[in-house]
Amino acid sequence: MAIHGCYTARFPRRLLLKDFMESLLGMTAQPQRLHSAHPSPDSPEPHLVTDEMVLNMGPQHPSTHGILRLILKLDGEVVRDVQAEIGYLHRCKEKIGENLQYNQYTTYSDRMDYLAGMNNNVGHAIAVERLMGNIQVPERAEYIRVIMAELNRIASHLVALGTYGVDIGAVTPFLYAFRDREKILDLFEEVSGARLLYNYVRIGGVVRDLPEGWGDRCRKFLDYLAPRLDEFDTVLSLNPIFIDRTAKVGVLPADVAINYGCTGPMLRGSGVKRDLRKDEPYSVYSRFSFETPVGPGPRGVVGDCLARYWVRIREMRESAKIVRQALDQLPSGPVMAKLPRILRVPPGEVYVRTENPRGELGFYIISDGSPKPYRFKVRSPAYCNLSVIGEISRGALVADMVAILGSIDIVLGEVDR
């Protein structure tokens, strides 16, 4: 026993083929813990006493999707504590907002969550419109906004799921996800002229109408997407290895999620049915019928990584449903309200929240009547979702850290703003 213990202490257990064969044939009922949590010096095997080790994951780490440093406190392979160090991508987005006119800021809202530029555009535009009070956004513009936001939700989830696959060790689905996302970006490029930073939604509407035949191309894409999502399920979502890596890992109970202010798929994965598009419908969302998927996933428990992943997978189908309905109901008419060149915003304050792919994106703007906001604050969903990482990864293995971090689906541009 002593020899065996010595052996495993030096080599990670799962590298041993012998162990693999043993567990395959069911010879070892339970894999043994390498060492107890805090072996005392006078335990029978004093040579196995270990210290806590501090390990830096990041700032340059491929699975942090940006620049994030996680300070892990390890006891062997068990994570005792995690501290997320953020700020490496801070670009003063809020301060810039206070130094620019309202209509200049749309170009910066893209850059916060660069995977969901349209959603950010929409959130900012709605916030300023509510602050101004008297703006009538044309119906057609509202529908176009919904179409763009939902398409962007699909694109963002495709990136989230594809990169999650890479984090776990499956590279193929990543390429499929990006291939399909490119098709969405093509659609966006046709309307806005850019592939990442769209700057398409403006205060009072959208900048230009849809080009000729865009609706048909969009429908064609949705027809193309449905079988691709099934393919994606075959390759990744229903793969037993993937499910084993994610089920029952990083469990986030609903009460903890609510206490930490988690929103979006993170909260829904924990079984809380909360979706701002349904609960506080903004724009024209109340006119569409769609489901709010919640956890758990096909296996595992409520609130684990698989549940969060599964919520995203199902949300893509729901978004596709919304886009279809919006395309069918799309009214004709102008796409931009008549506005003065320099926006006159009455003094006051407003907080508007919209459902981003990552959760609740809030804009809090105080106006003092001048052309520039007095205070500009953004509540970013990824920031709040990331804050819970210490809670859910305590007691996990180091190898699962990547799975947990990926399931939160952070965009560091938005965490740091």
């Binding site: 069911g26 193929t172 046709e190 002229g193 930073l197 900048v207 230009r208 793969n239 037993p240 290895i241």
Partner: protein
């Protein structure tokens, strides 16, 4: 035997996944061999800026809307009160291709072209001069040309 069942499930899903890969492999490739094959750009593509100087009325609107102050516009008024453009520079290093300036331009002389391949060895080459002493916007007096040259030499 639970583990053997798990093993079988894994192998089966591997086969299914490989089936998807195989089907994708048999489809025609969608890769564009970029420098040889050009991507098709939409009409509204937001590339490098271009100013059609004869139509520019030097109204300064583009410079006012630009969130990052890319423009350097110098003009004077002639005796009839018309604006004469002496300098119209756009610093494409700073530009973030948002397109706000092209939307406010009253004469629509400022447009975004489809150009995007403008890598240079020197950042200074990315400052576009649309009005130079050699091709002035309107006939201007020599003193102003000299002043412009002096300013340009200073950077």
């Amino acid at each position: 035997m639970n583990n053997l069942k798990m093993f079988w499930l894994t192998v089966k899903s591997l086969g299914l996944g490989m089936g998807v890969t195989l089907r994708t492999m048999l489809k025609p490739a969608i890769t564009l061999q970029y420098p040889d094959e050009r991507p098709q750009k939409p009409k509204v593509f937001r590339g490098f800026l271009h100013n059609d100087v004869p139509r520019c009325v030097a109204c300064d609107m583009c410079a006012n809307i630009c969130p990052v102050d890319c423009f350097k516009i110098v003009y004077t008024r002639d005796e009839k009160g018309r604006r004469q453009l002496h300098r119209f520079d756009i610093d494409m290093v700073k530009c973030m291709f948002c397109g706000l300036c092209t939307e406010v331009c009253p004469t629509e002389c400022l447009t975004m072209t489809g150009g995007f391949e403008h890598a240079t060895w020197d950042r200074k080459e990315l400052v576009l001069h649309f009005v130079t002493p050699d091709k002035p916007a309107l006939p201007v007096d020599p003193a102003l040309v000299a002043a412009h040259r002096a300013a340009a030499a200073k950077g």
